[in-house]
């Protein structure tokens, strides 16, 4: 089917994703104040959202902010703790059998829907069938596809009925899933919103309006009481939640504030406990408000992709030109002087924060910038470009202050060091996507965030068959490496080779690996900044008195 299907099949992750295979009965995480902390009287947690939430339907949600709310309103089989380790949710324990192809989850008997009914295995069966049902039209149904549940792919393609999905309720509290292949970390995937249970009677009664606050029935630690699309959402503590006794925050409020500078003003005025660090302000704020400014690695890479397809400019078919442009880009300046958000300069594609991935060393990453510059000049001259035959091309980016600044700086570096004339061209988002998808560009800004915490989510992108390989890079040796990794016991060796191929052929210029930067009020405790997938749970947070 699609390439996405082949992902998530890596042996190397077994050891790293803790608690995945073993029978697990670790106690659940909950808000646990430290000694000496006095809880605040008002346990309301308010944070800023960039935009209104597209959907609060677990099976349909795609975005990070929506998922964050859904994790409070619904609870899946498993949760994550502050460090990203897997812990029980509705499932108290689980075991894998038949060589990791059959999973059996034992559900807790005290998990309740917000209308008082008990959450059963049947609710999960309903939700999972719903996620793959073409009639649901879920943009995230591909996630169910990579979970490799029997018949999942065929149901999405419309060749089988949703009822044929390989998931059954053995009894009310035992859920059994059959997979098409061995997936040692299958349980980890059940911490994702798409797999959360939904209440059949409610959905059938209200149709697409079932997520309205007055209609919604959930099983999470909070219930939705208010949802004003472009203004605010409010969720309050759900007394029926099985672990309500250990929950501290009473109320969670989100405010939609599109402009990050206004959001920051309002944060300073005390209207919020959490907001994003405004672009470029991290270094200053880390000094002026050190107790509130936090930085954490993220699974995202910013890069420039070359068009190397048949329609590409001649120049970019020459690897020397691509290398010269990559070498001449001073990543330290971009990260320290332009983006100023604590990003990490990138010479390889996959972020170092990815679980189980060791960033391989590539030669040009070890050189000094002066050495890179000298080499770049040499390579470009070899390729036949110089003052008499200057290299000119268009640098495409989508409209945004950040992308613009980087493009300006990069074009200036190229011009100054190599005499290359890069014309800047911005396009509005959807036009930009169309231009990039149809290879109507020379070199384009790109960014990629991992769908899951494993290197293949990045490296598969340059597989010649991948839908997001926008430059149409094609190299059989590379394809062989990334495809071999999925069934190899030592995937990292394949990833290292793959990264080295990318560095040798330079179909893309890695610029930096993202870093998340966030402002948190000192009174807010328990925000999991060490969780790279940013799986937050309000039930694990609390607010304290600050003098």
């Amino acid at each position: 089917m699609t390439l996405l299907k082949t992902t998530f099949t890596k042996g190397a992750t077994i050891a790293l994703l803790a608690g995945a295979t073993a029978l697990s009965s670790v106690s659940a995480q909950a808000a646990t104040p430290m000694a000496g902390e006095t809880l605040a009287a008002d346990q309301t947690y308010t944070y800023r959202m960039l935009d209104g939430i597209p959907s609060l339907d677990p099976q349909i949600v795609e975005d990070v902010t929506g998922s964050e709310i859904i994790r409070d309103l619904f609870e899946g089989l498993t949760n994550q703790d502050a460090k990203g380790n897997l812990i029980p949710g509705v499932a108290m324990s689980w075991e894998a059998s038949e060589g990791n192809t059959v999973y059996t989850f034992n559900l807790r008997k005290d998990s309740k829907w917000s209308n008082g009914e008990t959450v059963t295995a049947g609710d999960f069966v309903y939700a999972w069938r719903r996620a793959v049902d073409p009639a649901t039209g879920s943009p995230y149904s591909w996630y169910m596809d990579i979970m490799s549940i029997v018949n999942g792919a065929d149901i999405i393609a419309g060749d089988k009925e949703p009822s044929e999905l390989g998931v059954v309720a053995l009894d009310d509290f035992t859920l059994q899933v059959t997979l098409t292949k061995a997936l040692p970390y299958f349980a980890d995937m059940t911490a994702h919103a798409t797999t959360f249970p939904t209440h059949q009677a409610t959905i059938e009664k209200h149709g697409s309006e079932w997520t309205k606050p007055e209609n919604m029935v959930g099983n999470g630690a909070y219930t939705l009481t208010e949802w004003k699309l472009k203004e605010t959402t409010t969720r309050v503590r759900n007394p029926l939640y099985w672990d309500d006794a250990n929950t501290i925050l009473d109320k969670v409020v989100t405010l939609v504030i599109s402009d990050e500078n206004v959001a920051f003003t309002r944060y300073k005025a005390g209207e919020m406990d959490r907001t994003a660090v405004p672009t470029g302000q991290y270094p200053d704020l880390a000094i002026s408000m050190p107790d509130e400014t936090f930085k954490f690695p993220r699974l995202c890479t910013y890069y420039y992709v070359f068009n190397v397809s048949d329609s590409a400019p001649e120049a970019f078919k020459d690897v020397r030109v691509r290398k010269a442009l990559s070498y001449a880009m001073d990543r330290d300046v971009i990260v320290e002087k332009v983006t100023k958000g604590g990003q990490i300069p990138a010479y390889t594609y996959t972020p170092g924060a990815t679980a189980g991935f060791k960033v391989p060393s590539v030669p040009y990453g070890e050189w000094s910038q002066a050495e890179r510059d000298a080499k770049a000049v040499e390579l470009l001259a070899e390729a036949g470009y110089g003052s008499d035959n200057p290299l000119t091309f268009e640098l495409l980016y989508n409209t945004s202050e950040g992308h613009k600044k980087i493009a300006i700086a990069v074009a200036a570096m190229w011009k100054q060091k190599l005499g290359v004339e890069a014309t800047l061209a911005n396009e509005e988002w959807k036009t930009f996507l169309e231009t990039r998808n149809t290879q109507s560009f020379s070199i384009a800004r790109s960014g990629w965030c991992g769908d899951y915490n494993e290197a293949s989510t990045f490296l598969d992108l340059f597989d010649s068959k991948h839908g997001n390989n926008d430059g149409l890079y094609s190299n059989p040796a590379y394809d062989k490496e990334v495809r071999a990794a999925s069934s190899s016991a030592n995937a990292n060796a394949h990833y290292t080779t793959a990264e080295q191929i990318l560095a040798d052929e330079m179909p893309l210029i890695p610029v930096y690996h993202y870093t998340g930067v966030v402002m948190l009020k000192p009174s807010l405790k328990g925000y999991p900044i060490e969780n790279v997938m940013l799986k937050t749970y309000s039930k694990d947070m609390y607010k304290i008195e600050v003098k």
Binding site: N261, F264, T265, P278, G280, Q281, D284, V333, E336, K337, V338, K340, T399, E401, K404, K405, A407, I408, A409, A411, A412, T423, L424, A425, N426, E427, E428, T431, F432
Partner: protein, 308 residues
């Protein structure tokens, strides 16, 4: 008898028109004399001229150009990018270490051009469209004005996006797009005034004298509209200059490193709480001065053209 009378009337009207023609020529001269007497307007012309000249000439003498990054100052605008005579950044630098002085001057060229040409497109289309609809009235008016209603309601952004995809980026398209944004309101105002003017005695006299419609519109209607058109135009200009940055946002129009007042003001406005006031102050200063000049020139022109 009746026929005789009409012919006679037509003769009289023609003679009158000839007279007006002669008078018309001297009318322009009169207007010029009156305009020169208006101190505010003349000063504004002088300031605007200086602004244009400086924006074209000064870059040859300025130590920095609009696109070069000062690598010593990049990324530290607040501490190192202040206006400074010694290092040649008279107006300071932006966050990328580019010279605000040079960028403001470069933006001045673009924005004045946008302001003038974009407005010209809007005024010319709006004036004729509105005058024709208002003068002829009835069904034609209804059709023409419903067309304006449609144009006001359709998402103009798509026209701009599609134009960009089809024709590529060009400054000519930018002016067209800006004119497109703006002529409808002008047309409605002009049409409303025309409805009132066409009932005035002098228009009725001309009509009964058999003067052609086109002539009536150009000779009698439009000159009497100028007052309101001038005022509305001066209201239009600031909006258009700022609209340019929105059109550039969609990908059409000015591309970095070229800039404009709108783009500079936008960028500076985002930084107001981070201690770099010069990034907003200088561009907006130029913008304000430019607008005042346009305004006084507009007022002067109106007074000059309308001897009442």
């Amino acid at each position: 008898m009746f026929f005789m009378n009409r012919k006679k009337l037509a003769d009289v009207a023609d003679r009158l028109l000839d007279q007006q023609n002669i008078k018309g020529r001297s009318l322009w001269q009169d207007a010029y004399v009156r305009f020169r007497k208006n101190k505010a307007a003349v000063t504004s012309v002088v300031i605007l001229t200086i602004m244009v000249l400086v924006s074209f000439i000064a870059p040859f003498f300025a130590p920095w150009d609009y696109e070069t990054i000062d690598w010593n100052l990049i990324g530290d605008a607040r501490a190192a990018g202040q206006p400074n005579i010694e290092n040649g950044h008279y107006f300071g630098t932006d966050n990328l270490g580019r010279d605000i002085f040079a960028r403001t001057l470069q933006g001045t060229q673009i924005s004045l051009l946008v302001g003038l040409l974009g407005t010209a497109v809007a005024v010319v289309i709006g004036l004729f469209y509105g005058a024709i609809a208002g003068y002829f009235g009835g069904r034609l008016d209804n059709v023409m004005m419903r067309f304006v209603d449609i144009l006001m309601s359709i998402p103009t952004m798509f026209i701009i996006i599609i134009a960009m995809v089809v024709f590529g980026r060009s400054i000519f398209l930018l002016f067209l797009a800006i004119g497109l944004f703006a002529w409808m309101d002008m047309a409605r105002i002009v049409r409303g005034q025309t409805l009132a003017i066409k009932n005035k005695e002098y228009v009725e006299a001309a009509r009964s004298a058999g003067v052609g419609n086109i002539r009536i519109i150009t000779r009698h209607i439009i000159p009497n509209l100028l007052g309101i058109v001038v005022i509305y135009t001066s209201l239009l200009i600031p909006g258009l200059i700022l609209t340019e940055s929105f059109i550039s946002f969609l990908g059409l129009g000015i591309q970095e490193p070229l800039t404009s007042w709108g783009a500079l003001i936008n960028e500076g406005a985002g930084q107001i709480q981070y201690g770099t006031p010069w990034q907003l102050g200088f561009p907006i200063g130029f913008f304000v001065v430019g607008l005042y000049c346009f305004l006084f020139i507009g007022d002067g022109l109106r007074d000059a053209l309308d001897p009442k």
